[in-house]
Symmetry: C2
Subunit: 90 residues, 2 copies
């Protein structure tokens, strides 16, 4: 199977879309249930910090796909982290 360059690019965009918006259902579930007992504080601490660095990296190299995707993920991951800090267990 030989893929055209625009088809390869499409796989990248689909991957970026999924890994960015995957945090929407988690944010909704955490917000609604306030059940953060099984959500790892370590994960969201490291992840939010990491996505913040991705955002800074994107801003420095001025790549809009990186900036946009990581700005959205940063907001979602941060909201889950804040909920975890407020509701550590049920």
């Amino acid at each position: 199977m030989i893929l055209e360059p625009h088809q390869i690019e499409l796989i990248g965009y689909a991957a970026a879309f999924l890994t960015t918006f995957a945090f929407v259902p988690q944010a909704i579930v955490s917000w609604r249930t306030r059940d953060l007992s099984g959500v790892s504080l370590g994960m969201y601490s490291l992840f939010t910090f990491g996505v913040g660095l991705w955002l800074i990296y994107g801003l420095i190299i001025e790549k809009w796909p990186l900036i946009l995707a990581n700005a959205i993920t940063f907001a979602l991951a941060l909201s889950i982290l804040v909920l975890k800090l407020r509701y550590p267990r049920k």
Copy 2:
């Protein structure tokens, strides 16, 4: 503040390291507690699929940083997804 190219690259590597290994504490917490009630099935379904696409994308364009980071994240996200399917609630 003006950054050297290798300093900018270092920010990217730190970001990649953190967003990859952030899933380690979540996998450990989920494995130990079997408490997946607050972990979103929607998130891990979309995320695992998305990281799988990142991995395919990395393999096609033959970029080892993408391949390595996403292979590790894929294994971690998949293990959390499998735990969620086995232990949907406490």
